[in-house]
Every structure is written in structure tokens, then in C-alpha cells.
Amino acid sequence: MTHSRFRSLALLFCLAASSACRGTDASPTGGVVVVSSGADAETLVPPLVEGSQGRVVTELIYDKLADVGPALNTFGDVGFVPKLARSWDWSRDSLTITFHLDPGARWHDGQPVTAYDVQYAFRVWTDSAVGAVQRAALAAVDSVSAPDSRTARVYFRERTPEQFYAFTYTLIPLPAHRLASLPGAALRDAPEVRSPVGSGPFRFVSWAPRTRLELSANTAYYAGRPRVDGVVFVFAAQGATVAARLLAGEADFVEQLSPPDFAQLPRDGAVRAQPYGSLDYTFLLFNQFDARDAARPHPIFADRAMRRVLTAAIDRSTIVRSVFDSLARPAIGPFSRMQWTADTTLTGIAFDPSAAARMLDSLGWRDTDRNGIRERAGRPLAFSVLVPASSRPRQAAAVLLQAQFKAVGVAVTIEQTDFNTFLDRARRGAFDAMVSGVRTSPSPRGVRDWWGTPGPDRGIQNWGRWSNAEFDAQLDSALSAPRVEELRAHIHAAYQAALNDAPAIWLYEPRFFAGVHRRLTVRALRPDAWWSGIVNWSIDPAQRLPRDRRAPATP
């Protein structure tokens, strides 16, 4: 009866807590939240969205069937919050989940949200003419049927602990009555998707790409209208400008303040920094293979002992404090502390420069010509570190790494490239080492994409081509473990295997601080989606501004 463990009492819990899980619990306050952002969405077509800003906007316009709860659990359906689906039940063999749609759920044009919309969305996500970015997440889903207009039944090919999460987190029901007549390929830029009609708490109003995007509160929202009247996103490519807008009072909210922004926060408390967890972690990745000849092992990093020595030479806490002050923590391993599967009991390689120096001596790397750089067989101990020019913290980390490596006789050159070149070289394996960053999802599945042995089902993003059988096996066992305790045990073993093998130096995990203007009250910000509680945000009516006035509604 393992399948019963996938079910949960979350539903009952949520019903008891009334609408708090879904909609608002208080009266509207009015006002418009202005969010200052560094990047715009590229598209508002949900299956084609990849960037974070695109996710923000589409998830405000469109609701999912159910959403991850505040604990970010992805196992079974524990803690999941009902959205368009008011409830769901599992078949005995856990291969079928039946979603019961909320009868009040309406598209912004007034049409009811139906099971056909779920069916249609599944068709879109799996249509190769559309090219849905997250299609792989739905690989385990066989089909979706609609026994009646308010019941959607999802059939799975196999049973996995995260099947509920994978389906509900990825698939966004789309308005079939508006889009179904379009061929898949036309979905990218049809007028219907340029001004989207969704089912979520906010309606689309207007979009001037790279300038401004406006949403207004959906007063007919089935879970209770948002407390504010609308959300406006304003964009600027320069990081300093994004923060300056908040400091000048032109915006109410910035998703993430950078360490230099903190020095600028006004003393009168007009802007406060609200901490929340992040799912990011950054690491120095070693390429296991030669940068010039992908078939040959890397002359330095193919050797496990060498990777461990280099790791021991790095003082991560200094890097963290220099770049972030207290706004980050040293990373532990191939995961984020915010994931529910995070493991803080692992044994890492401790910082010990003198031991590292001794080890390098014993490995034959000695500074024979007294130039400060070690050699072995006439070859200097040198490598390059690839960094994207778009990330200031990663560049700073590279400069600090360079100095620390130099202290033990290792010569590092930094190669800063634009992001496109960075990705291209990463994919081709044309690098020695690189400062890479990951924004994980709440699920531990991503670990397999980043660190699994490259192959058809894993390791898509494993640019260093590190391969460890123990790690792969333990991770596989974890991801199919029927019980949470088993999963944790396997995850622990997998992570420990990774740490022992040192495929990378895990550098830092930033702590995010949102910048929030005094007039705005926000609820707890979820690490994977700060906007998830936005229906409950409020603006102090005493601190209204002229920009809160809305233009008379056009029908």
C-alpha cells in the first residue's frame, strides 16, 4: 500500500485553514504594486517561458491546478495547495490522479475553466511543433481525459514519488476555447497569446516589451480578489537602476537587493530588506576532460586526489564574507539548503592550505624554478576559470579564487565572456574550470540533470562530465524511494559520494533580500516563487501615491 503514502492530509488541512491557502483573507486595500526588475519576460506563452520574469508574469495571469506549499515539499502531494483543482484523488495503483476543478474558476473573459482546458494544455505541452521548454517533466504522463467538464483525469506511465509535483508544477491549464483552433507552431506569436486571457488573480492589461508590463486585479477571482488593485513591472537592464528606482520611491518592490545596494538603503526606513530563502548555489566546476580535446582526460582535474587538494586550498568562508558580507552562506554540496531534501550532516573537505601545499608537493607539483608557480615534468600547474560577464558576484568569486590558488602555487587565469559564449563553451566542454551557478527547483530531481553521468535521462547540464556510479545509483534509489526516510538515506549517500569525489568546489548559497517599500506589506516570500502570496500583499491606504490612480476601465 505504498501509494497511500503519496496521498496526504494536506487537503483537509487546507480546507480547515479556509481560503488562506489560495486567496485573500482580508479586504482589499487598493493601490498598485510597482515591481522594479532587471529583465523582462521574452514571451507570455506559458509552455515557452523559461526565464524567471516570464514565470512571474505567467503565474500571476494563469493559475495551476495545485501549487507547492510553503515547505516546498515535492514528495507525493504533501503540503500542496489547491488552486484550479479544488480537490484530487488517487487511484489505488497511484497511476491515475483525478482532479476536481473549482466550479467558481473562470477565465478572464468569463468562460468557466474546464477539464478540456487541462486536456488541451497537455496537448500543447507535448506537441513538438510548440517546443515546450519543460516538456521532459511530463514524460511520465501518458494522457489526460475529461470524464466531464469539471473532472480531469491524468494517467501516468509509471509511479514516482514526485509525479504529482512534476505534473502540477509544470502544466498550466490554457483557455482551449480561445486557442484550440491555432496550430501548435502558431502559438508562439498569435495575437491571442500576446494579450493573454488567464485564470489567475491578475488580468493582463498591457505590455511594452523591455519597458513596462501592467496587470490589474481580477475582481472575479474564484479564491477571492487580490487586496491590491494591480501590479506593474518596470524594467531596466542596469542593476544599479533597478535598485535606484526602489530607493527613489518610484517602485515598491525589488526581488533581490545586491550587497552594494545595502550600503545605500536610506536610514529613515523608507525601504526595508526582507530576507527569504533562495534555491541558488554557485560552484567552481572542474572539467573532467581536456578543454581542447574532449576525448582526453583533463591533465589536472581527472585526478581525484588533485581535485580534493584544490578544494582544500580554498577558504570559502572568506569568499562568502568578502563578496556577500552576511548575504550568503558557504554552499554544502550539489543542492540548496532550501530544498526539503537538503542534508546538513555531510562531511566536506576542510580548508587547510598547508595540508594542500604538502599534498601538492607529494603529488610531484613543486615550484622548482621559484617563480611562485608549481611545476611537474616541466608543465606549470595552471588552468583557466571561465566566468560570465553578466554576473558580478561570480566575477568577484573568481578574483578571490585566483588569489587563493596563487597562495598555494597554482596559476589561474580568468576568462570573462558574454553569457552566450559562456554557455556555448560550457556545452562543448571547452573550459578547464568555470564558476557556474544553479537555480534549482524544489525537487531533488534537478540534481540528476546537473550531476548525473551524462546520458539520455540525466546529466544534460553536467558540463564537467563528472561520472560516479555510486552517486548515480544512490540518487536513482532516492528518487524512486517509496518512503521519505529511505529517500533521505539514499540522498545522503549520494551527496556524500559527490563530496568525497570533489567534482566541484561548492562556493556559496546566496540569501535573498527583497527590497520592500514602507507602504507595502508582503507576506512570507517563497524561495522558488516570491510572488506566490501576492494576493495577500497590501498597500497602506494612508500612503497612496498618485501612481495608484487607475485609468478609467476600458470595456
Partner: protein, 324 residues
């Protein structure tokens, strides 16, 4: 004159073809593609990447892509900007008016201010006015523009809140304001970006104009004018300026096209997404239809600007002969 324009246009078209081809080759050689960052996610399978490439024809050999692009161009189609999920015409149609507004205002202001400064400097040649203004205009050229922009944004915008930090208009119900209020709002938002750009233009114009004026002031007909008993201002403004302004106008004609794409950092810092920023992003995204369109536009603009400024210069210049 018309014949000259036609030859110049033909030249420009020929050169354009060469430039477009080399730009295309350059972009082909650059690593990466328009989908690299869009499909950056770890869970994006290679098959999706292949589908996206096929969707926009990136799976075709480069030669064929270029021929297709050129063929579409002859039909008046600029192609599709894959990195923006919009047609090139839409992207450029959004960005170009913003840039023309920003650069137009900055050039107009800068030109007027620059000529004015030069006149004052010439009138008070080698006196303190000349020296102070000279130092200021030298500073206006010597201090990097992006730094002035950053300082203006931080202090005039964020700290002292005299002007908006960024953006092109007020939020809220601004769309429903009466026309003149909307224009005022636009001017208020233009103040910092156009001001910083105008400062740079004014400094350059003033330095050139002053040199040109001083050169003219040595000519015989100026002495004649003075001998006629005209006031010094009259001599400078009515006699010297018309003969000295031609080269400066020509200079502006040269500067305009490169300013259209060259205000990247100003556009970036003040959240004014015009052609410069569009081209910058397109370069980083290797979005060749967008890049090529911008290059072609700049060329057309260059030809137009040169023709117009030449015509103006020719209109202004004959007075010199008359005066003599």
C-alpha cells in the same frame, strides 16, 4: 546635386551588401545562438533545442539562411527576431522612435547650447568667460559619458529625487491625462537621459564651433564689417557664424547615425530601451536578423543625414561669397 545623391546611394547600397555579409559571417563565427539563454534550464532536453532551431531555420546551412534573409529583404521583410519572440519590424518599430526622440532632443539641445557657448567664448576670447567655458566643455568630453549618467541617475534621481530615475513616462492613469500633461511628463522623464547626452554633444559642438569661429574671425571681411562700425556681437553672430557653422553641421550629420546605436549605456542606465540597447542585446543573443536590420537602418540613416547636412551646409555657405 541629385546625381550626386544617387551615386552616393548606389555606393551605400553596394557597401551595405558587403557590410551585411561580413556582419552575418561575423555572427556565424560567434559561439552561441538566440536560444542559448532561453533554453538554459537543466531540464531542457536536446530535442527541444533542436525543435526551436528548426522552427526558426537555424538548422539550415548558414549560406542558405543568408540567401533566404536577403530574398525576404527584397520583399520588404526584415525577418523574425527569435530572441524576442517578435518580428524584427515590431522590435525596431518600438525602439527606433524612442531613440530618435532621445537622440533628436539631445542633438537639438546640445547643438544650440554648444553654438551658444562657442559664441560667448568667441566674444570674450581669452578672457575668464572663455577659459571657464573652455574648461567645462573639455570636461564634458573628457569624463566618460556612462559615468556622468550613473552619477546623474544616482544623485539627481535616486538621492535628491529631482528627476525620475528611469523609464519613459509616469505610471497610473497617465494614459488618460490631457495631451499637454502627457508631453510635460515625457519631457520630465527625458530630462536626465537627454540632458546627459546633450551635455556630451554640447561640449563637442562648442569646441569645434569655437575653433571654427576663431578661424573665421581672422578673415578680412570681418575686419571690413568691424570697420563699418557694427557691434562685436553683430559681427560674430551675423557675419562670422554663418561661415563657421557649416563644418559643425556636417559634423552633426556624421555623428547622428552612430549616436542612434551608440547611446547604449545611456539607454541602459536610464531604462530607455532604444536602438542601442536593442542592438546590444541582439549582439549578445546572436540574433542576426535583428542585428542586420539595425545595421541596414544605420546605413540608410547615415546616407540621409549626410545628404541633409550637406544641403544645409550648402545653403548656409554661399553667404560667405555674398559678404565678400
Amino acid at each position: 546635386m541629385p546625381r550626386e545623391i544617387v551615386t552616393r546611394l548606389l555606393h551605400a547600397i553596394a557597401v551595405c551588401a558587403v557590410v551585411a555579409t561580413s556582419v552575418f559571417v561575423l555572427i556565424q563565427c560567434a559561439p552561441g545562438d538566440p536560444f542559448a539563454t532561453a533554453l538554459d534550464g537543466a531540464d531542457v532536453p536536446p530535442s527541444v533545442r533542436a525543435e526551436w532551431r528548426a522552427r526558426y531555420g537555424f538548422d539550415l546551412p548558414p549560406g542558405e539562411r543568408f540567401v533566404r534573409w536577403a530574398a525576404a529583404l527584397t520583399r520588404g521583410e526584415l525577418g523574425y527576431a527569435a530572441s524576442r519572440h517578435r518580428t524584427v519590424a515590431e522590435v525596431v518599430g518600438d525602439a527606433m522612435p524612442r531613440t530618435l526622440l532621445l537622440v533628436g532632443v539631445a542633438l537639438g539641445l546640445g547643438f544650440a547650447a554648444g553654438v551658444g557657448i562657442a559664441l560667448v567664448q568667441t566674444r570674450h576670447h581669452r578672457r575668464w568667460q572663455d577659459r571657464v567655458l573652455g574648461a567645462l566643455t573639455l570636461g564634458g568630453v573628457a569624463v566618460p559619458e556612462f559615468l556622468v549618467a550613473l552619477l546623474a541617475m544616482t544623485w539627481l534621481g535616486a538621492r535628491w529625487r529631482l528627476f525620475p530615475v528611469a523609464g519613459m513616462g509616469s505610471l497610473g492613469d497617465a494614459g488618460a491625462w490631457p495631451l499637454w500633461e502627457r508631453i510635460l511628463d515625457l519631457v520630465w522623464h527625458l530630462a536626465l537621459p537627454a540632458g546627459v547626452l546633450a551635455l556630451a554633444v554640447a561640449s563637442r559642438v562648442a569646441r569645434h564651433q569655437r575653433a571654427a569661429l576663431l578661424a573665421v574671425m581672422r578673415e578680412d571681411y570681418i575686419r571690413t564689417a568691424r570697420a563699418k562700425g557694427l557691434g562685436e556681437w553683430d559681427v560674430i553672430v551675423r557675419h562670422a557664424l554663418p561661415n563657421a557653422i557649416g563644418p559643425v553641421i556636417a559634423l552633426l550629420g556624421l555623428a547622428l547615425p552612430s549616436l542612434v546605436g551608440g547611446a547604449v549605456l545611456i539607454e541602459r542606465i536610464f531604462g530607455w530601451p532604444g536602438m542601442g540597447l536593442t542592438l546590444f542585446d541582439a549582439l549578445l543573443a546572436r540574433d542576426y536578423p535583428l542585428i542586420l536590420a539595425a545595421v541596414l537602418l544605420a546605413t540608410v540613416l547615415a546616407v540621409v543625414a549626410r545628404t541633409v547636412t550637406d544641403a544645409i551646409a550648402e545653403y548656409v555657405a554661399p553667404r560667405r561669397a555674398r559678404e565678400r
